[in-house]
């Protein structure tokens, strides 16, 4: 019996000892008005410097406050932030694209409304009005637009267009003619990062906008619309017709965006065009070939209800939000203000970006043209996968990939999207 007691007590002791050992490492220090933790995804090129310079200026003016900056790679961030928020361990300041995913954080009470901060000194008026729609939910604003304005345009190789005497198309039939000419001359009309999925939805989302006008808003906000609206079916049909007409480079559904695979045919002269965000310009800068490429807006569709000046994209992302677990929210907001103060704006313009504030002085002709396009746009539609809840965004991306691989029909795709919309949006 004595032996038994000994066994039991020793097991207990071992267990307690190990728990102490583990928890010794796992216990998170209690949050006093501690350092302001700050995650961002400006992790490539001069991105980290842009952020660090602003934070340094903040710290020079606020010597008592400590800011811990962590640059994180884009895709890694998306998963990491989710785990951190779910574990109540979110950084004070973190970026987002606004829209559906940010709304998930809003609904979970993980981020704070910034209205009171924005009212002070009319700070809100500093920004382009179009920049707020993606971060405003139920009248409250949860993010500050900082980094850039991104819209999808059609980039084209000027030399190829000159060689075959092509004009940049203004309408869909004109685009089809260009596609035909290029195909007869054995140049792939468009390249596309189909494996990454999000480049493909730009096609569908633009077509749906040009054809259906406010059909998407009605379907997404459930105000009498449906994803089975004829406009969406027609968008699917026209996109599949373009695929069948050889509009895209062979193997496009195997090309990734991230590793430069999908842009390679455009830079290498194998493909003549790429519907992509204006950030693709960075690739031309990198290749020192900015003069070889130009862009034009997505063409209009005859008979379509959508305004041809509408653009797909976002004004102001990344947005920065403050987590509800942050111990020093007032200073966190101040840090964000330094990110988009006049010095930061000048530094971002020098990088070819378009910060979402009013009264910019731009010099680069490409940036000026883009800025004009954004200013003249009747509407800016955020990428659907960012606008809608994540589950819908994923389905949409998968369905468009399937549509362009001719693995589904426009009708089936519409039905699948409407079924999910009924489940999670109604």
């Amino acid at each position: 019996m004595k032996k038994f007691m000994n066994r039991r007590s020793s097991i207990l002791l071992a267990a307690v000892g190990s728990i102490a050992l583990i928890s010794g490492y796992a216990v998170v220090p209690a949050q006093a008005a501690g350092p302001i933790t700050f995650w961002h995804i400006q992790s490539t090129g001069t991105g980290p410097k842009l952020i660090q310079d602003a934070v340094d200026r903040f710290q020079a003016d606020n010597p008592g406050v400590k800011v811990e900056v962590s640059p994180i790679a884009n895709d890694a961030f998306k998963d990491k932030i989710k785990v951190a928020v779910g574990a109540d361990n979110a950084p004070c300041i973190f970026p987002s694209w606004g829209g559906g995913p940010l709304n998930e954080y809003v609904k979970a009470g993980a981020v704070i409304p910034l209205n009171s901060y924005l009212k002070k000194d009319n700070y809100k008026d500093r920004f382009v009005p179009a920049s707020w729609s993606n971060v405003t939910f139920g009248g409250a604003t949860y993010g500050i637009p900082v980094e850039n304005s991104s819209i999808a345009v059609i980039w084209y190789d000027k030399k190829i267009f000159a060689k075959y005497k092509l004009k940049t198309p203004k309408t869909w039939p004109e685009l089809l003619t260009v596609v035909k000419t290029l195909n007869t001359n054995k140049v792939a009309p468009f390249t596309l990062g189909g494996a990454s999925k999000w480049p493909s939805i730009m096609w569908y989302d633009y077509l749906a906008d040009r054809i259906g006008g406010d059909a998407f808003a009605k379907a997404a906000l459930r105000t009498g619309g449906s994803f089975t609206d004829p406009a969406f079916i027609q968008a699917g049909k026209m996109l599949q017709d373009l695929v069948k007409a050889g509009g895209f480079i062979k193997g496009f559904n195997g090309l990734n965006y991230d590793n430069g695979q999908s842009a390679a045919p455009l830079l290498g002269g194998k493909a003549a065009m790429y519907l992509m965000g204006n950030w693709l310009y960075g690739d031309f800068v990198g290749a020192k070939r900015t003069g070889d490429f130009g862009f034009f807006p997505f063409p209009s569709v005859p008979g379509g209800k959508g305004d041809a000046t509408n653009v797909l994209g976002t004004v102001g992302d990344n947005y920065y939000s403050i987590s509800s677990t942050c111990s020093d929210k007032a200073n966190a907001f101040k840090v964000i203000q330094y990110l988009i103060d006049d010095k930061s704006v000048t530094a971002r313009i020098a990088e070819g970006r378009i910060p979402p504030v009013k009264g910019l002085t731009l010099t680069d002709p490409n940036t000026i043209a883009l800025n004009k396009m954004i200013a003249n746009a009747k509407g800016v539609q955020l990428w659907w996968d960012q606008y809608l809840p994540p589950e819908f965004g994923e389905l949409h991306k998968n369905e468009v990939q399937k549509l362009m691989g001719l693995g589904t029909t426009p009708e089936k795709m519409a039905a699948a999207q409407e079924a999910l919309a009924k489940k999670i949006l109604d």
Binding site: R7, S18, G251, G254, Q261
Partner: protein, 297 residues
């Protein structure tokens, strides 16, 4: 304790001190998460909300009718079958060849093991470029050899992609099993080889009737490892294709990840995780039963 310490008869206190920490760690990081994911499979939860909504067996019901999940199960088993059909025979042949070659083949021993030394993510990124339809090394080589008809859209063709991936997995893992078999072959006493030579066994007969039967334990181990490894395979596929195109390379683990981290459906992802656990567990039991005769003979 008054008893004299005897190292050959470890007392309970020693055992407890030595095993305790690892038992606690195993429970914290292995047993508890498994139980927790079973529990979460009964909830509707996005991974962010403070509250988890109990939904009974709704997730399980959805899973049974989810054609994408069954497609991912099918793809996981394609990976498994291709792995068994290629890795075992190829690994075994290479091991026997290298064993025969002895020290003369040391160069090849090292070279053949190279794929096993590379990080999976590096392999995935590298092969993304190699399999590129327009600029990829593979198609360029085929073209320069005038074998244009063999050029394929290796990762973009939905019928082909899963096999491209499966073959790449074989390329990556065959060296491990080659090494495992080689070690087992080296474990056979040279007396056996001499005796069989005296009895007039040819090379083939020696391999067929002596070497292979003597290393069957290693072969069974390899089959089990391949089974478990293939069914829960994730990293290479996630970086290489992310389950695409058109879900044609979706496997159970990538589908799970997609649901948890891309679609914010942690409850449903837990259901997939639990199903994955059950499928791997049952298959492992089946393999163990099926190979019992071989092991015990």
């Amino acid at each position: 304790m008054s008893k004299k310490y005897d190292p050959l008869k470890p007392n309970f206190r020693t055992l407890a001190w030595m095993l305790g920490p690892s038992i606690v760690l195993l429970c914290t990081y292995l047993i508890w998460p498994i139980i927790e994911s079973f529990r979460l499979s009964l909830f509707d939860w996005n991974g962010l909300d403070k509250s988890q909504k109990y939904s009974g067996f709704a997730n399980w019901n959805e899973l049974i009718h989810d054609s994408l999940f069954w497609l991912s199960v099918k793809n996981s088993f394609i990976l498994l079958i291709v792995a068994l059909l290629i890795q075992i025979p190829l690994g075994l042949s290479l091991a026997i060849l290298l064993y025969r070659g002895g020290t003369r083949f040391r160069f090849f021993k090292m070279t053949y093991f190279f794929p096993g030394l590379m990080s999976t993510v590096a392999i995935a990124i590298l092969f993304k470029q190699i399999f590129d339809y327009n600029y990829g090394l593979l198609n360029q080589v085929l073209q320069s050899l005038n074998l244009d008809f063999l050029m394929q859209d290796w990762l973009g063709d939905k019928k082909l992609a899963i096999f491209t991936v499966a073959l790449l997995v074989c390329w990556q893992y065959t060296p491990y099993y080659m090494l495992l078999f080689l070690a087992a072959l080296n474990g056979i006493s040279s007396d056996v080889e001499e005796a069989s030579a005296i009895d007039g066994a040819t090379n083939w007969k020696y391999t067929r009737f002596i070497q292979i039967p003597l290393i069957k334990g290693a072969i069974v181990t390899a089959v089990t490892l391949i089974t478990i490894g293939s069914l829960k395979y994730f990293d290479l596929i996630w970086v290489l294709t992310a389950g695409g195109p058109e879900s044609s390379t979706e496997v159970m683990a990538s589908y799970l990840y997609q649901m948890a981290f891309k679609s914010y459906r942690v409850g449903y992802a837990s259901t997939i995780a639990s199903a994955l656990f059950l499928i791997v567990f049952l298959t492992a039991i089946f393999i163990s039963r099926a190979t019992r005769k071989v092991r015990e003979a």
